[in-house]
C-alpha cells in the first residue's frame, strides 16, 4: 500500500506545487531548487543507464543468445572507455595546478579519452550516419510508388524539395524573372513556400495536438489516474 501511495503523493504534491509556483513569484526560488534536483537525478540516470546496459548484455552473454558476441564487444568497449575516463589515463595536469596529476581535463589534446573519441567514436558515428544515403537510395527505387493521388502529391512535393535544395532548382527555373509575377513558380521559391506554408500549418497542428495530449496525460498522472510510470503493469 505504502509502496504505491507514497510515490503517488510525492508526484501529485510536487507537480501541483510546480504549477502553482509559476503564478507566485515568491515560490519561484523553491521551484528552481526542484530544477536543480532534476539535474542531480539526471546525472544519477547515467549510473542507472550503465547498470541497465550491464544487466541486459550480461544476460545475453550468459544465455548465449543470438549475437552474444556483439554484447561482449559492447561491454568491453564500455569498460575500457569508462576506465580511461574515470582514471584520467594520459591526462596532463591543469596548468593552474601543475602538482595535481588528476586536475586536467579528460578532453585535453593527447589524452587516451580524446584518442578514443578521435579514432573510434568519431569515425564510427560519421560512418553510421553516412550509410543512410545508401539505404535511402535503395528505398527510393523500391518503395516510393505513385500508387494513388496521395502518393503522387507526396512524390511531386519530394521532387520540388529535392531540386529546390540544390543548384538544379536555380538552373531549371532561373529564367523566370525573380521580380516578375510568376517568380513564385521558381523551384527554389516553391520549395521555400512548401516548407513555410504547408509544412508549418501541418507541424503547428501536430504541436498543438501534442501539447494538449501532454497536458491531459500530466493531469492524469498528477491526479493518480495514470500510474503506468510506477511500473508493475497497472
Amino acid at each position: 500500500m505504502l509502496k504505491r501511495n507514497v510515490p503517488l503523493l510525492i508526484t501529485g504534491l510536487i507537480g501541483v506545487f510546480l504549477i502553482v509556483a509559476n503564478f507566485f513569484p515568491s515560490l519561484s526560488a523553491m521551484s528552481e531548487d526542484f530544477t536543480v534536483f532534476f539535474g542531480i537525478i539526471a546525472a544519477m540516470a547515467f549510473v542507472l543507464g550503465g547498470g541497465s546496459l550491464l544487466k541486459v548484455h550480461l544476460k545475453k552473454i550468459s544465455d548465449r543468445n543470438a549475437g552474444w558476441a556483439y554484447s561482449l564487444i559492447v561491454l568491453g568497449t564500455f569498460a575500457i572507455t569508462l576506465a580511461v575516463g574515470l582514471l584520467k589515463i594520459g591526462v596532463p595536469p591543469n596548468p593552474g595546478f601543475p602538482d595535481k596529476p588528476w586536475s586536467g581535463s579528460v578532453n585535453a589534446d593527447g589524452t587516451a579519452f580524446e584518442w578514443i573519441y578521435e579514432y573510434a567514436l568519431k569515425p564510427l558515428s560519421a560512418t553510421m550516419f553516412a550509410m543512410l544515403a545508401f539505404y535511402i537510395a535503395s528505398a527510393a527505387f523500391r518503395a516510393f510508388r505513385a500508387k494513388n493521388i496521395e502518393a503522387i502529391l507526396l512524390l511531386g512535393t519530394a521532387f520540388i524539395i529535392l531540386l529546390g535544395r540544390t543548384f538544379a532548382g536555380y538552373y531549371l527555373t532561373g529564367w523566370i524573372p525573380i521580380d516578375g509575377p510568376f517568380s513564385g513558380l521558381r523551384i527554389e521559391e516553391l520549395s521555400v513556400y512548401i516548407m513555410q506554408v504547408f509544412n508549418t500549418a501541418g507541424s503547428r497542428a501536430i504541436i498543438i495536438g501534442i501539447a494538449l495530449g501532454i497536458a491531459s496525460t500530466s493531469l492524469k498522472i498528477l491526479m493518480g489516474l495514470d500510474r503506468s510510470y510506477l511500473g508493475g503493469g497497472n
Binding site: 553510421m128 527505387f141 510508388r145 529535392l162 508549418t200 507541424s203
Partner: protein, 347 residues
C-alpha cells in the same frame, strides 16, 4: 530477361555503387578544381546574418553546440560560419553544450576559427568554453534564472568569478542573442521553449534536415533565423564570406588612411570592378599599406577564401548529384512498377 525485368530485380549493391559514385565524383572534382556552385541566400539565412549583424560589437552571444560527430558533416560548417561572423563583428562568445560530445565540437570550432584566424581574441575576455552539463532542458531552465548554479566553472575548471567576461552574467537575460546548432534532443526546440520565448531573446537555429520541418512553425517570432541542413549552411556561409571580405577591405582601406565614408565607396567600386583596385594600389594613397596587407586586399576582392570557410558550399556539389540520382531512381522504380503492373505482375 527483358530490360524491365533486369531493373526490377537489380541487386541493391548496384544502387549503393551509384550513390557512392554520385557523392565521390563531385567531392574529387571540387577538391581538384576548387569550384563551388553559386548560392542565393533565402530570407531565413539572411535573417540569421542580419540578427547578429545588427547587434553592436561586444554583444554577448550564447552559443549552444548541441550536436555530435554523426551530424558534424551537416552542422559543422554552419557552426564555423556563426563563429566567424561573431569574431569578425567583435561579439563576445559563450560556448556551452547539452550533449556529452558537444565539448569536442566546441573545441574543434574554436581551434579552427578562433585560433586559426582570430588569434588576437583572448580566452576569458572575448570567448569562453563552459563545456557540457547533464540534465537536458533542466539545464536551460536553471540557467534561465541562475547561470552560475549550473556553470560554476568553465570547461578548464576555472571558477567563473575569475573569468572577466563572466562578470555581469547572471541569467539568460544577460545575453543579447542565443545561437543553437542542434542535431536533436536536447536542442533547438528546448532552447525555444525554455529560454528564447519566455525571456524574449533572439534565437538563431542551425539544425539537421530532418529537424528543420519541426522548427519552421517557430519562425519568425520565436526563431529569428533558421538554417536547415547543409543547404541553409551554404547560403549563410556565402553571406558571411561576402560580408567578411567587404569588411576586411574596408578595414584595410581605413588602415591605409582612407576615411570611413570614402572607404565604403571604394570598397563598393572594387567589388563592382576589381580592375579599379589595381589602379588604386598604384596611387600614393595606397602607400600606407604593407606588402602583406596589399596581398590581403587583393585576395579579399578576388574572393579567395580559406578552405574551412567554403565547406558548406563544397558539400552542395555532392548533394546536387545525389539528389538528381534519387529523382532518377524514383522515376526508374515507378517506370518498372507500372510496366510490370500492366503485364499483370505487380502485387
Amino acid at each position: 530477361m527483358s530490360m524491365v525485368d533486369r531493373l526490377a530485380n537489380i541487386d541493391r549493391r548496384w544502387i549503393f555503387l551509384m550513390m557512392g559514385l554520385a557523392v565521390a565524383v563531385p567531392i574529387i572534382y571540387i577538391g581538384i578544381t576548387g569550384k563551388t556552385l553559386p548560392e542565393q541566400p533565402t530570407p531565413l539565412a539572411q535573417a540569421a546574418f542580419d540578427e547578429l549583424d545588427k547587434l553592436p560589437p561586444g554583444s554577448r552571444i550564447l552559443l549552444a553546440w548541441d550536436f555530435d560527430p554523426a551530424s558534424e558533416g551537416e552542422l559543422g560548417p554552419m557552426a564555423t560560419s556563426f563563429v566567424r561572423q561573431c569574431c569578425q563583428r567583435g561579439h563576445r562568445m559563450y560556448f556551452l553544450t547539452l550533449w556529452p560530445v558537444g565539448t569536442q565540437m566546441i573545441q574543434k570550432t574554436a581551434s579552427l576559427v578562433i585560433d586559426g584566424f582570430y588569434p588576437d581574441l583572448e580566452y576569458g575576455t572575448d570567448w569562453v568554453d563552459l563545456g557540457f552539463k547533464a540534465g537536458n532542458e533542466a539545464v536551460i531552465k536553471t540557467i534561465a534564472t541562475d547561470f552560475g548554479q549550473m556553470f560554476p566553472n568553465d570547461s578548464r575548471g576555472t571558477p567563473i568569478e575569475s573569468i572577466p567576461m563572466m562578470d555581469g552574467i547572471v541569467s539568460i537575460s544577460s545575453f543579447d542573442a542565443i545561437v543553437n546548432v542542434s542535431a536533436g534532443y536536447p536542442g533547438s526546440k528546448e532552447w525555444v521553449l525554455y529560454a528564447a520565448t519566455p525571456y524574449k531573446k533572439p534565437l538563431l537555429v542551425g539544425c539537421t534536415g530532418v529537424q528543420a520541418p519541426q522548427m519552421y512553425p517557430y519562425v519568425p517570432l520565436q526563431v529569428q533565423g533558421l538554417l536547415g541542413a547543409i543547404k541553409g549552411a551554404a547560403e549563410y556561409e556565402s553571406v558571411v564570406n561576402a560580408w567578411v571580405r567587404r569588411d576586411t577591405v574596408e578595414t584595410l582601406l581605413e588602415e591605409a588612411g582612407v576615411d570611413g565614408a570614402d572607404a565604403g565607396t571604394l570598397t563598393k567600386d572594387f567589388f563592382d570592378d576589381p580592375e579599379k583596385l589595381k589602379s588604386w594600389l598604384a596611387e600614393p594613397a595606397a602607400g600606407g599599406l604593407t606588402e602583406a596587407k596589399r596581398a590581403s586586399l587583393v585576395q579579399a576582392v578576388q574572393g579567395v577564401e580559406p578552405g574551412i570557410f567554403l565547406e558548406a558550399q563544397r558539400r552542395m556539389g555532392p548533394q546536387l548529384v545525389a539528389h538528381l540520382l534519387m529523382i532518377a531512381l524514383i522515376l526508374a522504380g515507378n517506370a518498372v512498377y507500372f510496366v510490370t503492373r500492366r503485364r499483370g505482375g505487380a502485387r
